[in-house]
């Protein structure tokens, strides 16, 4: 009997240690990123690093403003394309979809989430980049834009990222809408509102925090996406006002230059990762707050 009690205690300890693994992982990630990134930021100067718009490693100029702006541009673009389509699709899934085709369509949205980012990037490279290039040429000939661009652009990256965040937005919005008690909807119908009015005036407002959480999660995905973006965004570290021009994102900066960077240059790249990480932590934190809000409703 004694040995059995001992095994029980021992295994309970094992389970506890295993549970600590995720805490340890987060701690290690924070420690290693900050310990390797902060000194470089200090050496370059926090303000200079964050607000400098010249990134020229060969002459020791490390300003990542253009990359921060680049990440914000493509994320905003992804939101513009992805959020309306995502929310309307989830309305379809939750309220309109015939039962017979619901399962295959649901599986399709999950598939959209499962497709690797290289595949999205490749699809962007061979399909969307030529399309945007032609579009740019048309605009150029019509005299609307000054430069046509080569197709690797903010617009291209935004389109692909918009597709990539669809499953995140559809998933969270749909489940938030389904969580709204059905008597809200029925009450609205009974008062003579049309189905559409009931959905957009009653259900969606009631599911607001879930919908917003989905959008914020989508922002997190878009800002952290790496491979798909570097394959189609052009990667020029500069600030541009035209969506037909290329930009570089924070994620792209790390992947493109880490292969050959040494010394301060390498540390500056890790510091770029730290900035990205802080962005993501802020986004995660807001999602957690929003979820808590949703639970209280």
């Amino acid at each position: 009997m004694k040995s059995k009690a001992w095994t029980e205690k021992f295994m309970q300890g094992v389970f506890f240690v295993a549970a600590c693994a995720s805490v340890l992982a987060v701690a290690l990630i924070c420690v290693f990123l900050f310990a390797n990134g902060i000194p470089a930021m200090k050496e370059i100067g926090f303000i200079k690093f964050l607000t400098g718009d010249v990134w020229r490693p060969s002459s020791e100029q490390f300003g990542i403003l253009s990359m921060i702006v680049g990440s914000l541009y493509v994320t905003a673009g992804a939101i513009i394309f992805g959020v309306p389509i995502g929310i309307l699709t989830s309305v379809f899934m939750a309220m309109y979809c015939p039962k017979r085709i619901y399962k295959p369509l649901k599986a399709a949205t999950e598939l959209l989430a499962g497709i690797p980012s290289v595949i999205y990037g490749f699809f962007g490279l061979v399909v969307v980049v030529p399309l945007v290039r032609d579009f740019g040429n048309v605009l150029y000939r019509a005299g609307i834009v000054e430069k046509a661009g080569d197709g690797n652009s903010i617009l291209t990256a935004s389109l692909i990222l918009g597709i990539m965040i669809l499953p995140t937005i559809i998933g969270t919005t749909e489940s938030a809408m389904r969580a709204v008690p059905s008597h809200y909807y029925q009450g609205s119908l009974a008062l003579g509102a049309t189905k559409e009015r009931s959905i957009f005036r009653v259900i969606i407002p009631a599911a607001k925090s879930g919908v917003v959480a989905g959008i914020v999660l989508g922002i997190g995905r878009a800002i952290g996406e790496t491979m798909a973006v570097i394959m189609i965004a052009g990667n020029q570290p500069r600030i541009t006002g035209s969506i037909l021009q290329g930009i570089r994102t924070l994620t792209g900066n790390i992947v493109i230059e880490m292969g050959y960077a040494t010394g301060l240059h390498r540390e500056a790249l890790i510091a770029t990762g730290v900035v990205l990480f802080v962005f993501i932590l802020i986004i995660n934190f807001s999602v957690a707050l929003l979820k808590r809000g949703a639970d209280h409703e």
Binding site: A18, A19, L28, T89
Partner: protein, 286 residues
């Protein structure tokens, strides 16, 4: 809807409310866009890639002439196996702790929840950076399959934890009570009664995790490295299929092979995801 309405009735309501009609059209349009984009993406890659799948693509050795996918495939299998070997026990054990041992309202449980949520939100490039700093440099493993596998293990840990947790929670308490009633201890109950009933859910999560490992690029580029051969040991560098595909398309010399590799990768990932949802569906039916 419980009361039957005919199409004529619907049309009459929409005639009275043109705004609602417009909104309905927008909803339909959005749904069509979503699913057409998905179908187009898959069809485009299949149609353009399948003709380029040639026997030379499956040569045992990678050379600059054949751009064979075999070494990358083998590396992917090794990477998947290693990552699961590390992450699955940790994931399942911590889920057991959370569901079976930790009391409700436990502060530590909240900490774990918070960290797993944080982990699942971290982008893969940050994992890649961490893996490079910790496993490759600090532990001095160099670019190696092992460093890549540990990085991937951390990345899939929250996924396995969450799915296992849900599967364990779905096991009715009467099972546990019955087991206790028959005199089994807690440990025996967990391993002989609760865990076996939760296996389909756990499996669905593990398969989803395999899908993520197979499709991952950014986290592996600077951890497992980009050598296009099968390494002699897990301490050697080797690129997985997704990374191989990225290199082919960014080098730009092997576009035909890149198309063909995209097909193989897509079929793998779609197959894995379908398998996972089939298992999950079996679970909900049972």
């Amino acid at each position: 809807m419980s009361n039957k309405t005919t199409i004529g009735d619907k049309l009459r309501t929409y005639l009275k409310h043109p705004g609602s009609f417009l909104v309905m059209l927008l909803v339909m349009l959005a749904a069509i866009i979503t699913f057409v984009v998905l179908i187009f993406l898959i069809a485009y890659i299949l149609i353009n890639g399948v003709p380029h799948i040639k026997p030379s693509l499956f040569a045992l050795e990678y050379t600059s002439e054949n751009a064979s996918v075999v070494p990358a495939l083998v590396n992917t299998i090794i990477m998947t196996f290693l990552s699961l070997l590390i992450a699955v026990p940790f994931g399942i054990f911590s889920a057991i702790f959370l569901v079976e041992y930790a009391g409700r309202g436990n502060k530590f449980v909240e900490v774990i929840r918070l960290t797993t949520e944080t982990l699942s939100g971290i982008p893969s490039i940050v994992y890649g950076l961490f893996g490079m700093l910790f496993f490759v440099n600090t532990l001095d493993w160099g670019f190696s399959l092992l460093a890549g596998a540990f990085t991937m293990a951390i990345m899939i840990l929250p996924l396995i934890m969450r799915t296992t947790e849900e599967a364990l929670k779905a096991v009715p308490d009467s099972y546990r009570e019955g087991s206790f009633g028959l005199g089994a201890g807690k440990l025996r109950t967990v391993f002989r009664i609760v865990l076996p009933s939760a296996i389909p859910g756990v499996l669905a999560g593990v398969i989803l995790a395999i899908g993520r490992i197979v499709g991952e690029t950014a986290a592996l580029m600077y951890t497992s490295g980009t050598v296009a051969q099968i390494p002699d040991s897990i301490m050697g560098s080797g690129r997985t299929l997704a990374l191989h595909m990225y290199n082919l398309s960014s080098e730009g010399l092997y576009m035909d092979q890149a198309y063909a590799t995209a097909v193989i990768l897509l079929i793998l990932v779609v197959g894995i995801n379908t398998l996972s949802s089939v298992i999950a569906r079996k679970l909900t039916k049972a």
